[in-house]
Symmetry: D2
Subunit: 345 residues, 4 copies
């Protein structure tokens, strides 16, 4: 059994980790920290876990994290990099669900997250935790920077096209839509039901943290200079993410060949579903599961290809992907504990 610790278990990615790990057959939940909720049984905060998770929150100083095999950080940015060195020294693997180990370009990190990176030597060995594109490195990693939710959809959506060199890498447009849980469990006016229900808006259009992360990864797929316009929007739903990706075709290619690029790229992937050409995937078809689904369109057989990508932002976009990485790091079958059938309706 893998002894698992969670730092910061009170947010949505934290409770989603608990939901998944509670039925993971190879995991023993060992510690979960919260300074504020020290002593509170986890199930008191999240009644959905009553009878299923019986540990209590403990303050960070009391939690015996160094006795774990792996520690997940479901914390604000900056926490993991402060604690990772001590854990690594004790032989504990680290999976950070925040941004501390996502961006290899430290300047970009410091620009977008407004803090110095205190742990660049660990960053150097950190592996970007997107299994579909980085599986072998993840297997050997001690430290994982778990991808952001939006970047996961953009990378898996653009990858076959960029790798094959059939679209203009310099004029990518990603029009993305996320459920409200993506913003986290924070007491902010802007996230209230009465502010976000029955309405729709864009946000961060002039600049968003997920742009540099995505560009850094997309740039690994092509020798052309990547230019990405990323426009996030907020959808009045709890979970779910839908990315509408536009690419300008630079080669003469049939629709069948386009589709084949995706089928080939993902044919052995347990968590990427390439739907028939012209499908319209719905976010709910992935709800509460680790699946990501995508489908291609090419209006009027013109020179633009559209990739529609959906996932559950809390699962494939966060906690499920983190567990997928853990499975790889510990030599387990990749889908262990992750085979939930999506909840629909």
């Amino acid at each position: 059994m893998i002894k698992v610790g969670i730092v910061g278990g009170t947010g949505y990615t934290g409770v989603e980790l608990l939901r998944i790990l509670a039925t993971h057959p190879q995991v023993q939940l060992t510690a979960i920290t919260s300074r504020k909720e020290d002593g509170l049984p986890v199930a008191d905060m999240y009644p959905s876990l009553r009878g299923r998770v019986d540990i209590a929150f403990s303050s960070p100083d009391k939690a015996k994290l160094t006795e774990c095999d792996v520690v997940f950080f479901a914390t604000p940015h900056g926490v993991a990099m402060a604690q990772a060195p001590e854990l690594l020294a004790a032989g504990v693997k680290v999976i950070d669900l925040a941004a501390d180990f996502r961006l290899q370009d430290v300047k970009q990190f410091e620009k977008w997250y407004g803090m110095p990176h205190s742990c660049t030597h660990v960053l150097e060995e950190a592996v970007y935790g997107l299994p579909e594109l980085n599986r072998e490195a993840i297997k050997k990693a001690r430290v994982i920077g778990n991808p952001g939710c939006y970047p996961t959809t953009m990378q898996l959506g653009y990858y076959p096209l960029l790798k094959a060199g059939v679209i203009d890498a310099g004029s990518l447009i990603a029009d993305c839509k996320s459920g409200v849980s993506g913003a986290g469990r924070k007491a902010e006016i802007g996230l209230l039901f009465s502010e976000t229900s029955d309405t729709f808006k864009a946000y961060g259009v002039s600049g968003h943290r997920h742009t540099p992360e995505t560009v850094e990864q997309l740039q690994r797929m092509t020798s052309d200079k990547v230019g990405l316009l990323f426009t996030p929007h907020l959808v009045p739903m709890v979970r779910g993410m839908h990315s509408t990706l536009y690419g300008r075709l630079t080669k003469d290619i049939s629709n069948e060949a386009l589709q084949a690029l995706f089928v080939d790229a993902y044919k052995d992937e347990p968590f990427v579903d390439v739907m028939p050409f012209g499908s319209h995937p719905e976010t709910r078809s992935t709800r509460a599961s680790n699946m990501l689904r995508l489908a291609l369109h090419r209006p009027d057989n013109g020179n633009t290809v559209i990739v529609l990508v959906v996932q559950d932002n809390l699962v494939k976009g966060a906690s499920g992907q983190a567990v997928q990485c853990m499975n790889l790091m510990f030599g387990l079958e990749e889908g262990t504990g992750l085979m939930h059938v999506p909840v629909m309706p």
Copy 2:
């Protein structure tokens, strides 16, 4: 492996059965019928099942239902009673999620469902499928009338009180609220998003089919004459049911003793969670799981006890409960394939 057939798999209780059975370790999905969708792969209608359920709908005449061990009817009222005799004769067990085998009082059935009961000899042996109150009979049953969603909450909520004889059985008031999926997957104006979102209403206040079913069962718990006022309401949410049950105390009893009645009644139940006195259970704490949670209140220590009961109407209120019955009927551990952790948020 239990060979399972489903008649009428295109509705919400049908797809929920599929979601549950797809990961049930002792089940082999053998046939699923739909006259209209003959030949269509199930996963084409419900993309959430892509890669997880690979059978196709077949028309009723082609489906080899008599080769199954058990057949679930997720159909409109009246279908199961027409087909049950043939299946039973072939040694196939029957679990009806509609009302055909719920009411032993045939007159009540005919009054509320507007059709003659064509199969009273089967009705006679049918067992009401509420495991918490009827477990031994279910184990031996060939035919199950799976309870209605509202009746499940009312019975489990009132049972310890009626059994102990501490409330007036003649003046029960059940103010109940259901998510929209409870009305089924029907093309009706009244169920449109634009008709049910951001609004709230009662319906069927002057009379609802679930009243006679509930009264018949409650009457088994007490020798006093049961009088029940049942008021259903429609909540703008997909899944979830919340019943607010009022009972007038007829005995001098402490709050501790009241709570003990419930704790004792359900202490060995895997799917009934008695929360601390004074709790406010949320429907989402049971979402996509087979759990039912309840909590007691007694305002001002007065002479009214309030029981708050929540469940997922599609799981404990329908398909999960049906699978729970199946497990009992086939000698499996009761929770087999039903241990989903609720999805929250």
Copy 3:
């Protein structure tokens, strides 16, 4: 033109006052205070008001409230009673949307609101602002305690029954449901979209502030001792309130006679709509309007009458009612500026 000031215009009752007053033909918006947002144009916080409301928030000390004819307090409890004396001395009328002037029983106020009442001499002259039951007093009032949202529905729903003495005043049960905006515009985890969407729960079942307010008013309608069980619930919708009121009939009375009690009581009321017996009013049929609608039921012609009452909690349940009071206080036609047609769908 009536010069109007608003203290605390940043919450939902504040912005709703602005929406209504912006098109009120007899009102000149003169001052709106917010310590925190001093100098900010109102329309910058609420873009819905762009081009329609052109004043800015000013800090309380700068706002020339004493130059107004009437000041609305859309503030937390306790603010109005601190400022009312000075305003009254300057000849300014006061309408408080919080609880400071609702309860004549000071002990009850202090018990439920956790603060001493600093202004009992003003409280003595304060008039409870429910026009349907208190019209003449409101016309002459200098100070109004605007009713709570739930209490409005309970009073108008029970009034004809209690006045006629046909129900048992001692065993009233009010099962009430409110949209989330009723909880105000506060940065609280419990009010987040991801906490309140697609779920349903009761709250405050063991005791709620609106009980003593309602009981005090209901007691004025009958010489029997009022006993009220009030159970509030939270509905995943922004606006809207639905109260399901139960009363035990103590007299032999026909359904026609019951209906006539309501028709007679409200026949001249511009904002109370008595629907046909057996109707199911929806909250959205009152959305963004000052209408309250109600309908009677009597299941099985038994001894319980049910009154279904709906309103928009921010209009008839708060700001609309306050403007209705203002119209009466200043001798205007009661519906001036309040004739919005409900928004549906």
Copy 4:
């Protein structure tokens, strides 16, 4: 007073017309037709109109439409063109909210709407009812083709850019999102609450009827060949539309100059609000009002300009715009009866 008839008043654009016209000071509602609901008081179907609209539906043959001054068609495509000639001959003006008189290119009409155009001589004189771009023609028109909801946002969003010739007309990308009411009041599975709530998807990506309509109108703004990629999505909200419009800049232009193009174009428009550069308009800031709001972005000061446009699809996107046209056609002040303040929250 203008005598107004409505053909097909049972859908959402029909009831929205009624909501608006009920308080229009110059309108007398004279007839409203529905074959199916002949004799039913309008307020029985839409209780929101109780006490405010007192006419009943009448079957088309009984309705005295030729006695009206103007008739609105809130019907499926094809109805208006069948009835328009008779009405026009009787001196009645016609405003069609469907597509019969939107497309001057009859071939495109027949291709996208799957029916022959039976009334091309009326089509020839029909005026496209977008007041901001077509005001003088509307004033003189006898027949109006009221714009589609999506096309309204795309035209008003691209107009200042195309007119000034600063973007590439051939590579427009419009990523648009609509509330569910945009699909109408039809008994379809795909529009059920349980199918559309808490989920998000694109639809019609490979081709949508609003593309040819929009292209035909955009082409009037520029001599360059227009190429438009239009991608509609369905948002789990009742009302509201958000279009995210991308344009590639072809000229060296400052952000201030871009903003000035919009401010100048719309400075006298009562229903177009140009928000500050870099704003994020929300759909709810226009809810239940005739306002359309837009804001510009230019990420990284690069060569793409983004226009965010919001409106209420049932008002500015349909019935409000139709009334705006009516006001112009009858010489009234353009905003008469249309000055509702948006409902927020």
